[in-house]
Protein backbone atom coordinates (compact mmCIF):
# COMPACT_ATOMS: atom_id res chain seq x y z
CA UNK A 1 0.00 0.00 0.00
CA UNK A 2 2.64 2.43 1.13
CA UNK A 3 4.63 1.61 -1.95
CA UNK A 4 1.86 2.62 -4.42
CA UNK A 5 1.39 5.98 -2.74
CA UNK A 6 5.08 6.54 -3.12
CA UNK A 7 4.89 5.68 -6.79
CA UNK A 8 2.16 8.26 -7.43
CA UNK A 9 4.24 10.89 -5.72
CA UNK A 10 7.10 10.11 -8.03
CA UNK A 11 8.15 13.17 -10.09
CA UNK A 12 7.21 11.44 -13.31
CA UNK A 13 3.60 11.28 -12.20
CA UNK A 14 3.41 14.95 -11.41
CA UNK A 15 2.00 17.31 -13.98
CA UNK A 16 4.84 19.17 -15.60
CA UNK A 17 4.91 22.94 -15.54
CA UNK A 18 4.71 22.80 -19.31
CA UNK A 19 1.29 21.22 -19.08
CA UNK A 20 0.24 24.05 -16.83
CA UNK A 21 1.41 26.82 -19.20
CA UNK A 22 -0.12 24.89 -22.06
CA UNK A 23 -3.46 24.80 -20.32
CA UNK A 24 -3.13 28.45 -19.30
CA UNK A 25 -2.39 29.54 -22.85
CA UNK A 26 -5.18 27.49 -24.33
CA UNK A 27 -7.79 28.81 -21.93
CA UNK A 28 -6.57 32.38 -22.30
CA UNK A 29 -7.00 32.31 -26.06
CA UNK A 30 -10.31 30.48 -25.71
CA UNK A 31 -11.59 33.27 -23.45
CA UNK A 32 -10.67 35.78 -26.17
CA UNK A 33 -12.67 33.84 -28.75
CA UNK A 34 -15.67 33.43 -26.47
CA UNK A 35 -15.54 37.13 -25.60
CA UNK A 36 -15.71 38.11 -29.26
CA UNK A 37 -18.65 35.79 -29.86
CA UNK A 38 -20.38 36.91 -26.65
CA UNK A 39 -20.16 40.56 -27.71
CA UNK A 40 -21.95 39.73 -30.95
CA UNK A 41 -24.60 37.78 -29.05
CA UNK A 42 -25.02 40.74 -26.67
CA UNK A 43 -25.46 43.18 -29.56
CA UNK A 44 -28.01 40.91 -31.23
CA UNK A 45 -29.89 40.40 -27.96
CA UNK A 46 -29.99 44.09 -27.03
CA UNK A 47 -31.08 45.29 -30.45
CA UNK A 48 -33.73 42.57 -30.69
CA UNK A 49 -35.15 43.23 -27.23
CA UNK A 50 -35.13 47.00 -27.68
CA UNK A 51 -36.47 46.80 -31.21
CA UNK A 52 -39.30 44.45 -30.38
CA UNK A 53 -40.41 46.44 -27.34
CA UNK A 54 -42.12 48.97 -29.63
CA UNK A 55 -44.50 46.22 -30.65
CA UNK A 56 -44.75 44.45 -27.28
CA UNK A 57 -44.60 47.19 -24.66
CA UNK A 58 -45.83 50.20 -26.62
CA UNK A 59 -48.51 48.28 -28.47
CA UNK A 60 -47.25 49.35 -31.90
CA UNK A 61 -48.66 47.56 -34.90
CA UNK A 62 -46.27 45.62 -37.10
CA UNK A 63 -48.50 46.22 -40.09
CA UNK A 64 -48.43 50.00 -39.54
CA UNK A 65 -44.66 49.85 -39.20
CA UNK A 66 -44.14 48.29 -42.61
CA UNK A 67 -47.00 49.96 -44.50
CA UNK A 68 -47.67 53.28 -42.76
CA UNK A 69 -46.27 56.43 -44.30
CA UNK A 70 -46.45 58.79 -41.34
CA UNK A 71 -43.71 58.76 -38.74
CA UNK A 72 -44.72 60.45 -35.51
CA UNK A 73 -44.11 58.01 -32.66
CA UNK A 74 -44.81 60.61 -29.97
CA UNK A 75 -48.50 60.63 -30.83
CA UNK A 76 -51.16 57.96 -31.05
CA UNK A 77 -53.67 57.34 -33.81
CA UNK A 78 -57.41 56.79 -33.47
CA UNK A 79 -56.85 53.21 -32.27
CA UNK A 80 -54.57 54.40 -29.49
CA UNK A 81 -51.46 53.02 -31.16
CA UNK A 82 -48.30 55.04 -31.78
CA UNK A 83 -47.95 56.37 -35.34
CA UNK A 84 -44.93 54.47 -36.58
CA UNK A 85 -45.11 54.26 -40.35
CA UNK A 86 -41.55 53.44 -41.36
CA UNK A 87 -42.28 52.81 -45.02
CA UNK A 88 -40.63 56.06 -46.26
CA UNK A 89 -37.34 55.10 -44.59
CA UNK A 90 -37.45 51.50 -45.76
CA UNK A 91 -38.27 52.59 -49.32
CA UNK A 92 -35.50 55.20 -49.19
CA UNK A 93 -32.91 52.69 -48.00
CA UNK A 94 -33.91 50.04 -50.52
CA UNK A 95 -34.04 52.52 -53.41
CA UNK A 96 -30.62 53.95 -52.62
CA UNK A 97 -29.05 50.52 -52.16
CA UNK A 98 -30.62 49.04 -55.29
CA UNK A 99 -29.80 51.92 -57.62
CA UNK A 100 -26.24 52.22 -56.29
CA UNK A 101 -25.67 48.53 -56.94
CA UNK A 102 -27.07 48.94 -60.46
CA UNK A 103 -24.64 51.77 -61.15
CA UNK A 104 -21.57 50.52 -59.31
CA UNK A 105 -21.89 46.81 -60.19
CA UNK A 106 -21.36 46.98 -63.98
CA UNK A 107 -18.71 49.69 -63.65
CA UNK A 108 -16.81 47.68 -61.05
CA UNK A 109 -16.99 44.44 -63.03
CA UNK A 110 -15.87 46.29 -66.17
CA UNK A 111 -12.92 47.75 -64.31
CA UNK A 112 -12.04 44.35 -62.85
CA UNK A 113 -12.10 42.74 -66.34
CA UNK A 114 -9.92 45.54 -67.63
CA UNK A 115 -7.41 45.14 -64.82
CA UNK A 116 -7.24 41.37 -65.11
CA UNK A 117 -7.66 40.62 -68.83
CA UNK A 118 -6.87 43.68 -70.92
CA UNK A 119 -4.12 45.60 -69.18
CA UNK A 120 -2.80 43.38 -66.39
CA UNK A 121 0.41 45.37 -66.03
CA UNK A 122 -1.08 48.83 -65.65
CA UNK A 123 -3.88 47.26 -63.64
CA UNK A 124 -1.60 45.68 -61.11
CA UNK A 125 0.91 48.48 -60.85
CA UNK A 126 -1.30 51.58 -60.91
CA UNK A 127 -4.99 50.82 -60.58
CA UNK A 128 -4.88 48.20 -57.84
CA UNK A 129 -2.99 50.32 -55.28
CA UNK A 130 -5.21 53.32 -56.04
CA UNK A 131 -8.37 51.24 -55.61
CA UNK A 132 -7.08 49.80 -52.35
CA UNK A 133 -6.37 53.31 -51.15
CA UNK A 134 -9.87 54.43 -52.09
CA UNK A 135 -11.41 51.54 -50.12
CA UNK A 136 -9.93 53.18 -47.04
CA UNK A 137 -11.27 56.69 -47.56
CA UNK A 138 -13.67 57.54 -44.71
CA UNK A 139 -17.35 57.71 -45.61
CA UNK A 140 -17.60 61.19 -44.10
CA UNK A 141 -15.26 62.45 -46.81
CA UNK A 142 -17.52 60.95 -49.48
CA UNK A 143 -20.50 62.62 -47.83
CA UNK A 144 -18.71 65.94 -47.64
CA UNK A 145 -17.75 65.82 -51.32
CA UNK A 146 -21.34 64.89 -52.13
CA UNK A 147 -22.53 67.90 -50.19
CA UNK A 148 -20.13 70.33 -51.80
CA UNK A 149 -20.09 68.99 -55.38
CA UNK A 150 -22.96 66.62 -56.17
CA UNK A 151 -25.78 68.50 -54.44
CA UNK A 152 -25.05 71.91 -56.04
CA UNK A 153 -24.56 70.19 -59.40
CA UNK A 154 -27.98 68.49 -59.19
CA UNK A 155 -29.54 71.72 -57.96
CA UNK A 156 -28.42 73.52 -61.11
CA UNK A 157 -29.51 70.73 -63.41
CA UNK A 158 -32.87 69.70 -61.99
CA UNK A 159 -35.66 71.50 -60.15
CA UNK A 160 -35.48 71.26 -56.37
CA UNK A 161 -32.83 71.63 -53.74
CA UNK A 162 -30.46 68.98 -55.05
CA UNK A 163 -30.83 66.90 -51.90
CA UNK A 164 -32.47 63.53 -52.43
CA UNK A 165 -32.16 59.94 -53.49
CA UNK A 166 -30.24 60.86 -56.65
CA UNK A 167 -27.52 62.62 -54.65
CA UNK A 168 -27.38 59.78 -52.13
CA UNK A 169 -27.13 57.21 -54.91
CA UNK A 170 -24.28 59.02 -56.64
CA UNK A 171 -22.34 59.34 -53.40
CA UNK A 172 -22.90 55.70 -52.44
CA UNK A 173 -22.07 54.35 -55.91
CA UNK A 174 -18.73 56.11 -55.83
CA UNK A 175 -18.21 54.96 -52.25
CA UNK A 176 -18.83 51.25 -52.88
CA UNK A 177 -17.14 51.23 -56.29
CA UNK A 178 -13.59 50.54 -54.98
CA UNK A 179 -14.80 47.79 -52.61
CA UNK A 180 -16.80 46.02 -55.30
CA UNK A 181 -14.01 46.40 -57.87
CA UNK A 182 -11.45 44.95 -55.52
CA UNK A 183 -13.65 41.92 -54.67
CA UNK A 184 -14.67 41.41 -58.31
CA UNK A 185 -11.00 41.47 -59.32
CA UNK A 186 -10.28 38.70 -56.79
CA UNK A 187 -13.12 36.64 -58.25
CA UNK A 188 -11.97 37.11 -61.84
CA UNK A 189 -8.33 36.43 -61.04
CA UNK A 190 -9.22 33.16 -59.33
CA UNK A 191 -10.47 31.74 -62.63
CA UNK A 192 -7.78 29.24 -63.65
CA UNK A 193 -5.54 30.22 -66.53
CA UNK A 194 -6.06 26.89 -68.26
CA UNK A 195 -9.74 27.69 -68.86
CA UNK A 196 -8.78 30.90 -70.63
CA UNK A 197 -6.18 29.15 -72.72
CA UNK A 198 -8.62 26.40 -73.68
CA UNK A 199 -11.13 28.99 -74.83
CA UNK A 200 -8.56 30.94 -76.84
CA UNK A 201 -7.24 27.71 -78.36
CA UNK A 202 -10.74 26.95 -79.63
CA UNK A 203 -10.49 30.14 -81.63
CA UNK A 204 -12.62 32.50 -79.61
CA UNK A 205 -11.82 36.21 -79.49
CA UNK A 206 -10.79 37.82 -76.22
CA UNK A 207 -14.28 39.17 -75.64
CA UNK A 208 -15.88 35.77 -76.28
CA UNK A 209 -13.40 34.25 -73.85
CA UNK A 210 -14.25 36.90 -71.23
CA UNK A 211 -18.01 36.60 -71.73
CA UNK A 212 -18.41 32.88 -72.08
CA UNK A 213 -15.65 31.55 -69.84
CA UNK A 214 -14.28 34.06 -67.36
CA UNK A 215 -17.50 35.80 -66.36
CA UNK A 216 -19.44 32.55 -66.21
CA UNK A 217 -16.88 30.87 -63.98
CA UNK A 218 -16.50 33.91 -61.76
CA UNK A 219 -20.26 34.53 -61.47
CA UNK A 220 -20.70 33.48 -57.80
CA UNK A 221 -17.73 35.59 -56.77
CA UNK A 222 -19.02 38.59 -58.74
CA UNK A 223 -22.45 38.24 -57.13
CA UNK A 224 -20.82 38.13 -53.72
CA UNK A 225 -18.88 41.30 -54.54
CA UNK A 226 -22.05 43.16 -55.50
CA UNK A 227 -23.98 41.96 -52.46
CA UNK A 228 -21.10 42.95 -50.23
CA UNK A 229 -21.27 46.42 -51.76
CA UNK A 230 -25.03 46.52 -51.22
CA UNK A 231 -24.59 45.59 -47.56
CA UNK A 232 -22.16 48.44 -47.19
CA UNK A 233 -24.48 50.87 -48.95
CA UNK A 234 -27.47 49.79 -46.87
CA UNK A 235 -25.63 50.30 -43.59
CA UNK A 236 -23.91 53.57 -44.47
CA UNK A 237 -25.19 56.35 -42.22
CA UNK A 238 -23.40 59.68 -42.30
CA UNK A 239 -22.52 60.00 -45.99
CA UNK A 240 -26.17 59.39 -46.86
CA UNK A 241 -27.56 61.56 -44.11
CA UNK A 242 -25.52 64.52 -45.36
CA UNK A 243 -26.97 64.51 -48.89
CA UNK A 244 -30.44 62.95 -48.71
CA UNK A 245 -32.33 65.94 -47.32
CA UNK A 246 -33.92 64.13 -44.36
CA UNK A 247 -37.63 64.53 -45.11
CA UNK A 248 -39.69 61.65 -43.77
CA UNK A 249 -41.98 61.27 -46.78
CA UNK A 250 -41.93 58.94 -49.76
CA UNK A 251 -40.47 61.17 -52.49
CA UNK A 252 -42.19 61.44 -55.88
CA UNK A 253 -38.93 61.78 -57.75
CA UNK A 254 -35.26 61.03 -57.23
CA UNK A 255 -34.56 64.73 -56.77
CA UNK A 256 -36.77 65.38 -53.77
CA UNK A 257 -35.59 65.17 -50.17
CA UNK A 258 -36.10 61.72 -48.65
CA UNK A 259 -34.87 59.65 -45.72
CA UNK A 260 -33.26 56.31 -45.08
CA UNK A 261 -33.28 54.08 -42.01
CA UNK A 262 -29.73 55.08 -41.17
CA UNK A 263 -30.31 58.80 -41.65
CA UNK A 264 -33.31 58.87 -39.32
CA UNK A 265 -31.34 56.88 -36.73
CA UNK A 266 -28.46 59.34 -36.93
CA UNK A 267 -30.74 62.34 -36.66
CA UNK A 268 -33.19 61.05 -34.07
CA UNK A 269 -31.32 59.09 -31.45
CA UNK A 270 -29.87 62.18 -29.78
CA UNK A 271 -33.21 63.89 -29.37
CA UNK A 272 -35.21 61.10 -27.73
CA UNK A 273 -35.23 59.75 -24.20
CA UNK A 274 -34.38 56.12 -23.45
CA UNK A 275 -37.40 53.92 -22.80
CA UNK A 276 -39.99 56.17 -24.42
CA UNK A 277 -41.98 55.23 -27.51
CA UNK A 278 -40.06 57.63 -29.76
CA UNK A 279 -36.83 56.00 -28.74
CA UNK A 280 -38.09 52.42 -28.94
CA UNK A 281 -39.41 53.09 -32.44
CA UNK A 282 -35.90 54.12 -33.48
CA UNK A 283 -34.56 50.88 -32.06
CA UNK A 284 -37.08 49.01 -34.21
CA UNK A 285 -35.49 50.71 -37.20
CA UNK A 286 -32.08 49.61 -35.94
CA UNK A 287 -33.48 46.09 -35.75
CA UNK A 288 -34.54 46.28 -39.42
CA UNK A 289 -31.03 47.42 -40.28
CA UNK A 290 -29.55 44.50 -38.36
CA UNK A 291 -31.92 41.98 -39.96
CA UNK A 292 -31.04 43.28 -43.41
CA UNK A 293 -27.32 42.96 -42.72
CA UNK A 294 -27.92 39.39 -41.47
CA UNK A 295 -29.87 38.74 -44.65
CA UNK A 296 -26.97 39.96 -46.80
CA UNK A 297 -24.52 37.82 -44.80
CA UNK A 298 -26.71 34.73 -45.28
CA UNK A 299 -26.93 35.29 -49.04
CA UNK A 300 -23.16 35.70 -49.29
CA UNK A 301 -22.67 32.49 -47.31
CA UNK A 302 -25.14 30.60 -49.47
CA UNK A 303 -23.42 31.75 -52.66
CA UNK A 304 -20.06 30.85 -51.13
CA UNK A 305 -21.32 27.35 -50.27
CA UNK A 306 -22.76 26.85 -53.75
CA UNK A 307 -19.39 27.83 -55.18
CA UNK A 308 -17.41 25.33 -53.16
CA UNK A 309 -19.59 22.31 -53.94
Amino acid sequence: MAKTIKEIEHPLYRKSSKMRTERFGKSLTFIAVVLTAAITAAILFLVFSKGLSTFIMNDGSVKDFFTGTTWNPAEVNSLGKPIIGALPFIVGSLAITGISALIAGPLAIGAAIFMSEIAPNAGKRIMQPVIELLVGIPSVVYGFIGLSVVVPFLRDLFPGSGFGIAAGTIVLSVMILPTVTSLALDAIQSVPRSLREASLALGSTRWQMICKVVLKTAKPGLLMAIIFGMARAFGEALAVQMVIGNASVIPHSLFEPASTITSILTMGMGYTVMGQVENNALWSLALILLLMSLFFTIIVRMIGKGKST
Binding site: V33, T36, L133, P138, G143, F144, S148, W207, M242, L289
Partner: protein, 294 residues
Protein backbone atom coordinates in the same frame (compact mmCIF):
# COMPACT_ATOMS: atom_id res chain seq x y z
CA UNK B 1 -21.55 41.84 -86.69
CA UNK B 2 -18.52 39.59 -86.79
CA UNK B 3 -16.93 38.24 -83.65
CA UNK B 4 -13.87 40.36 -84.26
CA UNK B 5 -15.69 43.66 -84.42
CA UNK B 6 -17.71 42.73 -81.32
CA UNK B 7 -14.43 42.09 -79.60
CA UNK B 8 -13.12 45.49 -80.63
CA UNK B 9 -16.32 47.21 -79.61
CA UNK B 10 -16.33 45.51 -76.20
CA UNK B 11 -12.71 46.41 -75.60
CA UNK B 12 -13.47 50.02 -76.46
CA UNK B 13 -16.41 49.88 -74.04
CA UNK B 14 -14.16 48.63 -71.25
CA UNK B 15 -11.70 51.45 -71.94
CA UNK B 16 -14.58 53.91 -71.65
CA UNK B 17 -15.71 52.40 -68.32
CA UNK B 18 -12.21 52.54 -66.91
CA UNK B 19 -11.85 56.09 -68.22
CA UNK B 20 -15.03 57.11 -66.38
CA UNK B 21 -13.89 55.47 -63.17
CA UNK B 22 -10.43 57.01 -63.30
CA UNK B 23 -11.90 60.45 -63.99
CA UNK B 24 -14.32 60.19 -61.07
CA UNK B 25 -11.77 58.85 -58.61
CA UNK B 26 -9.02 61.22 -59.69
CA UNK B 27 -11.49 64.09 -59.53
CA UNK B 28 -12.44 63.04 -56.03
CA UNK B 29 -8.88 62.94 -54.73
CA UNK B 30 -7.99 66.06 -56.71
CA UNK B 31 -10.94 67.95 -55.28
CA UNK B 32 -9.98 67.15 -51.70
CA UNK B 33 -6.32 67.96 -52.20
CA UNK B 34 -6.70 71.08 -54.33
CA UNK B 35 -9.23 72.64 -51.98
CA UNK B 36 -7.87 71.19 -48.76
CA UNK B 37 -4.10 71.51 -48.85
CA UNK B 38 -4.07 75.34 -49.05
CA UNK B 39 -6.01 75.32 -45.75
CA UNK B 40 -3.38 73.31 -43.95
CA UNK B 41 -1.02 75.27 -41.76
CA UNK B 42 0.64 74.77 -38.42
CA UNK B 43 -1.93 77.10 -36.94
CA UNK B 44 -4.78 75.03 -38.44
CA UNK B 45 -3.62 71.72 -37.00
CA UNK B 46 -2.82 73.04 -33.55
CA UNK B 47 -5.46 75.58 -32.54
CA UNK B 48 -8.94 74.72 -31.22
CA UNK B 49 -12.00 75.42 -33.39
CA UNK B 50 -13.89 78.71 -33.22
CA UNK B 51 -17.66 78.62 -32.90
CA UNK B 52 -18.72 82.01 -34.26
CA UNK B 53 -15.60 83.41 -35.89
CA UNK B 54 -13.41 82.24 -38.70
CA UNK B 55 -9.83 81.14 -38.31
CA UNK B 56 -10.40 78.16 -36.03
CA UNK B 57 -8.33 75.02 -36.27
CA UNK B 58 -8.75 71.33 -35.56
CA UNK B 59 -5.98 70.76 -32.99
CA UNK B 60 -8.00 68.95 -30.29
CA UNK B 61 -9.88 66.89 -32.90
CA UNK B 62 -6.64 65.68 -34.45
CA UNK B 63 -5.29 64.76 -31.02
CA UNK B 64 -8.55 62.98 -30.12
CA UNK B 65 -8.41 60.91 -33.31
CA UNK B 66 -4.92 59.66 -32.51
CA UNK B 67 -5.64 59.11 -28.81
CA UNK B 68 -8.79 57.16 -29.63
CA UNK B 69 -6.83 55.10 -32.15
CA UNK B 70 -4.19 54.21 -29.54
CA UNK B 71 -6.80 53.23 -26.93
CA UNK B 72 -8.78 51.20 -29.46
CA UNK B 73 -5.71 49.25 -30.54
CA UNK B 74 -4.73 48.68 -26.89
CA UNK B 75 -8.12 47.07 -26.27
CA UNK B 76 -8.69 45.26 -29.55
CA UNK B 77 -5.26 43.91 -30.52
CA UNK B 78 -4.66 41.64 -27.47
CA UNK B 79 -8.16 40.14 -27.76
CA UNK B 80 -7.76 39.70 -31.50
CA UNK B 81 -4.38 38.00 -31.12
CA UNK B 82 -5.80 35.62 -28.51
CA UNK B 83 -8.84 34.78 -30.58
CA UNK B 84 -6.80 34.47 -33.76
CA UNK B 85 -4.37 32.04 -32.10
CA UNK B 86 -7.20 29.89 -30.81
CA UNK B 87 -9.01 29.76 -34.14
CA UNK B 88 -5.85 29.00 -36.10
CA UNK B 89 -4.13 26.56 -33.75
CA UNK B 90 -6.49 25.01 -31.23
CA UNK B 91 -9.98 25.10 -32.76
CA UNK B 92 -11.30 21.79 -34.03
CA UNK B 93 -14.23 21.34 -36.34
CA UNK B 94 -16.93 21.34 -33.69
CA UNK B 95 -20.41 22.84 -33.76
CA UNK B 96 -19.55 25.34 -31.00
CA UNK B 97 -16.56 26.60 -32.97
CA UNK B 98 -18.70 26.83 -36.10
CA UNK B 99 -21.28 28.88 -34.15
CA UNK B 100 -18.55 31.19 -32.88
CA UNK B 101 -17.21 31.67 -36.40
CA UNK B 102 -20.67 32.59 -37.66
CA UNK B 103 -21.10 35.08 -34.80
CA UNK B 104 -17.76 36.72 -35.60
CA UNK B 105 -18.75 36.96 -39.25
CA UNK B 106 -22.07 38.54 -38.26
CA UNK B 107 -20.21 41.08 -36.12
CA UNK B 108 -18.04 42.00 -39.09
CA UNK B 109 -21.09 42.63 -41.26
CA UNK B 110 -22.97 44.86 -38.80
CA UNK B 111 -23.35 48.47 -39.95
CA UNK B 112 -21.18 50.80 -37.90
CA UNK B 113 -24.18 52.80 -36.74
CA UNK B 114 -25.68 49.69 -35.11
CA UNK B 115 -22.43 49.05 -33.26
CA UNK B 116 -22.42 52.72 -32.25
CA UNK B 117 -25.96 52.48 -30.89
CA UNK B 118 -25.04 49.36 -28.93
CA UNK B 119 -22.06 51.27 -27.54
CA UNK B 120 -24.36 54.14 -26.62
CA UNK B 121 -26.71 51.81 -24.75
CA UNK B 122 -24.09 49.67 -23.07
CA UNK B 123 -21.00 51.80 -22.44
CA UNK B 124 -22.48 55.29 -22.29
CA UNK B 125 -25.69 54.59 -20.37
CA UNK B 126 -25.42 51.18 -18.70
CA UNK B 127 -21.76 51.38 -17.63
CA UNK B 128 -22.27 55.06 -16.87
CA UNK B 129 -19.14 56.27 -18.69
CA UNK B 130 -21.08 58.99 -20.49
CA UNK B 131 -19.93 60.35 -23.84
CA UNK B 132 -16.26 59.63 -23.41
CA UNK B 133 -13.12 58.52 -25.19
CA UNK B 134 -13.34 55.22 -23.34
CA UNK B 135 -16.86 54.47 -24.62
CA UNK B 136 -15.73 55.41 -28.12
CA UNK B 137 -12.63 53.24 -27.91
CA UNK B 138 -14.65 50.22 -26.78
CA UNK B 139 -17.25 50.71 -29.52
CA UNK B 140 -14.53 50.96 -32.16
CA UNK B 141 -12.80 47.89 -30.71
CA UNK B 142 -16.00 45.86 -31.16
CA UNK B 143 -16.32 47.18 -34.67
CA UNK B 144 -12.79 46.21 -35.66
CA UNK B 145 -12.38 42.96 -33.72
CA UNK B 146 -13.62 40.64 -36.50
CA UNK B 147 -11.29 42.20 -39.05
CA UNK B 148 -8.31 41.94 -36.71
CA UNK B 149 -9.17 38.35 -35.70
CA UNK B 150 -9.28 37.40 -39.37
CA UNK B 151 -5.92 39.09 -40.03
CA UNK B 152 -4.25 37.31 -37.09
CA UNK B 153 -5.76 33.93 -37.99
CA UNK B 154 -4.67 34.24 -41.62
CA UNK B 155 -1.13 35.34 -40.76
CA UNK B 156 -0.75 32.40 -38.37
CA UNK B 157 -2.18 29.92 -40.87
CA UNK B 158 0.31 31.12 -43.48
CA UNK B 159 3.25 29.90 -41.38
CA UNK B 160 4.40 26.57 -42.83
CA UNK B 161 3.79 23.43 -40.80
CA UNK B 162 7.50 22.61 -40.76
CA UNK B 163 8.11 25.53 -38.38
CA UNK B 164 5.68 24.04 -35.87
CA UNK B 165 7.20 20.61 -36.24
CA UNK B 166 10.64 22.09 -35.59
CA UNK B 167 9.33 23.54 -32.33
CA UNK B 168 7.74 20.28 -31.25
CA UNK B 169 10.90 18.37 -32.12
CA UNK B 170 12.82 20.64 -29.76
CA UNK B 171 10.48 19.54 -26.96
CA UNK B 172 8.39 22.72 -26.89
CA UNK B 173 4.78 22.43 -25.88
CA UNK B 174 2.19 23.68 -28.31
CA UNK B 175 1.81 26.98 -26.44
CA UNK B 176 5.57 27.53 -26.31
CA UNK B 177 5.80 26.83 -30.03
CA UNK B 178 3.11 29.41 -30.66
CA UNK B 179 4.59 32.15 -28.51
CA UNK B 180 8.25 31.66 -29.43
CA UNK B 181 8.11 30.53 -33.06
CA UNK B 182 4.75 31.07 -34.72
CA UNK B 183 3.86 34.53 -33.40
CA UNK B 184 7.20 36.17 -34.29
CA UNK B 185 7.00 34.64 -37.76
CA UNK B 186 3.42 35.85 -38.20
CA UNK B 187 4.22 39.34 -36.93
CA UNK B 188 4.74 41.09 -40.31
CA UNK B 189 1.27 40.04 -41.45
CA UNK B 190 -0.30 41.03 -38.15
CA UNK B 191 1.38 44.45 -38.10
CA UNK B 192 0.31 45.19 -41.67
CA UNK B 193 -3.28 44.24 -40.83
CA UNK B 194 -3.30 46.33 -37.67
CA UNK B 195 -2.07 49.42 -39.50
CA UNK B 196 -4.71 48.97 -42.19
CA UNK B 197 -7.36 48.63 -39.47
CA UNK B 198 -5.98 51.85 -37.97
CA UNK B 199 -6.99 53.66 -41.12
CA UNK B 200 -10.52 52.39 -40.63
CA UNK B 201 -10.59 53.47 -36.99
CA UNK B 202 -9.18 56.86 -37.88
CA UNK B 203 -11.90 57.67 -40.38
CA UNK B 204 -14.86 56.13 -38.57
CA UNK B 205 -17.56 58.55 -37.51
CA UNK B 206 -20.96 56.84 -37.40
CA UNK B 207 -19.98 54.57 -34.49
CA UNK B 208 -18.58 57.54 -32.59
CA UNK B 209 -21.26 60.23 -32.62
CA UNK B 210 -23.21 58.45 -29.88
CA UNK B 211 -20.26 57.04 -27.95
CA UNK B 212 -17.35 59.50 -27.95
CA UNK B 213 -19.73 62.42 -28.40
CA UNK B 214 -19.83 65.44 -30.64
CA UNK B 215 -18.06 67.97 -28.46
CA UNK B 216 -14.65 68.60 -27.01
CA UNK B 217 -14.32 70.40 -23.70
CA UNK B 218 -11.57 72.96 -23.31
CA UNK B 219 -8.42 70.95 -22.87
CA UNK B 220 -5.11 72.16 -21.66
CA UNK B 221 -2.17 70.65 -23.53
CA UNK B 222 0.23 71.40 -20.68
CA UNK B 223 -1.64 69.22 -18.20
CA UNK B 224 -0.77 65.55 -18.76
CA UNK B 225 -2.33 64.11 -15.59
CA UNK B 226 -4.85 61.54 -16.91
CA UNK B 227 -7.19 62.09 -13.95
CA UNK B 228 -7.58 65.84 -14.35
CA UNK B 229 -10.74 66.85 -16.26
CA UNK B 230 -8.91 69.33 -18.49
CA UNK B 231 -6.11 66.93 -19.36
CA UNK B 232 -6.00 65.69 -22.96
CA UNK B 233 -5.29 62.19 -21.64
CA UNK B 234 -8.40 61.95 -19.45
CA UNK B 235 -10.31 58.96 -20.90
CA UNK B 236 -13.63 60.09 -19.42
CA UNK B 237 -13.98 63.34 -21.33
CA UNK B 238 -16.10 63.62 -24.47
CA UNK B 239 -13.98 63.72 -27.59
CA UNK B 240 -14.96 64.71 -31.07
CA UNK B 241 -12.66 63.23 -33.70
CA UNK B 242 -11.64 64.72 -37.03
CA UNK B 243 -14.20 62.66 -38.97
CA UNK B 244 -17.02 63.56 -36.59
CA UNK B 245 -15.97 67.21 -36.78
CA UNK B 246 -16.33 67.22 -40.57
CA UNK B 247 -19.81 65.74 -40.25
CA UNK B 248 -20.85 68.12 -37.50
CA UNK B 249 -19.76 71.40 -39.00
CA UNK B 250 -21.41 70.48 -42.29
CA UNK B 251 -24.68 69.89 -40.51
CA UNK B 252 -24.77 72.56 -37.86
CA UNK B 253 -21.56 74.58 -38.08
CA UNK B 254 -22.22 78.31 -37.76
CA UNK B 255 -18.69 79.57 -38.26
CA UNK B 256 -18.42 81.53 -41.52
CA UNK B 257 -15.56 79.39 -42.82
CA UNK B 258 -17.14 75.98 -42.16
CA UNK B 259 -16.60 74.87 -45.77
CA UNK B 260 -12.92 75.83 -45.71
CA UNK B 261 -12.41 74.03 -42.40
CA UNK B 262 -14.08 70.88 -43.77
CA UNK B 263 -11.84 71.09 -46.85
CA UNK B 264 -8.76 71.22 -44.64
CA UNK B 265 -9.98 68.52 -42.27
CA UNK B 266 -10.90 66.19 -45.15
CA UNK B 267 -7.45 66.63 -46.69
CA UNK B 268 -5.88 65.97 -43.29
CA UNK B 269 -7.95 62.81 -42.92
CA UNK B 270 -6.98 61.49 -46.34
CA UNK B 271 -3.32 62.34 -45.80
CA UNK B 272 -3.43 60.36 -42.54
CA UNK B 273 -5.04 57.39 -44.31
CA UNK B 274 -2.39 57.59 -47.04
CA UNK B 275 0.24 57.65 -44.33
CA UNK B 276 -1.22 54.50 -42.69
CA UNK B 277 -1.33 52.78 -46.07
CA UNK B 278 2.27 53.53 -46.94
CA UNK B 279 3.55 52.69 -43.46
CA UNK B 280 1.81 49.35 -43.54
CA UNK B 281 3.40 48.51 -46.90
CA UNK B 282 6.78 49.79 -45.79
CA UNK B 283 6.81 48.07 -42.39
CA UNK B 284 5.41 44.88 -43.89
CA UNK B 285 8.20 44.75 -46.48
CA UNK B 286 10.87 45.70 -43.98
CA UNK B 287 9.85 43.08 -41.42
CA UNK B 288 9.41 40.48 -44.11
CA UNK B 289 12.97 41.06 -45.29
CA UNK B 290 14.33 40.99 -41.76
CA UNK B 291 12.51 37.79 -40.86
CA UNK B 292 13.48 36.22 -44.16
CA UNK B 293 17.15 36.93 -43.54
CA UNK B 294 16.94 35.09 -40.23
Amino acid sequence: MSAKSTDRLATAGLYVIVGIIITVLAGLLGFVFVKGIPQLSWQFITTPPQIFKEGGGVGPQLFNSFYLLVLTLMIAVPIAIGAGIYLAEYARDHWIIRCIRVLIEVLSSLPSIVVGLFGFLFFVLYMGWGFSILSGAFALSLFNLPLLVRVVEQSIRNIPKSQREAGWALGFSKWETITTIILPAALPGIVTGVILASGRVFGEAAALIYTAGMSTPIIDFTNWNPLSPTSPLNPFRPAETLAVHIWKINGEGIMPDAAAISDGAAALLIISILFFNFTSRFIGNLMFKKMGAN
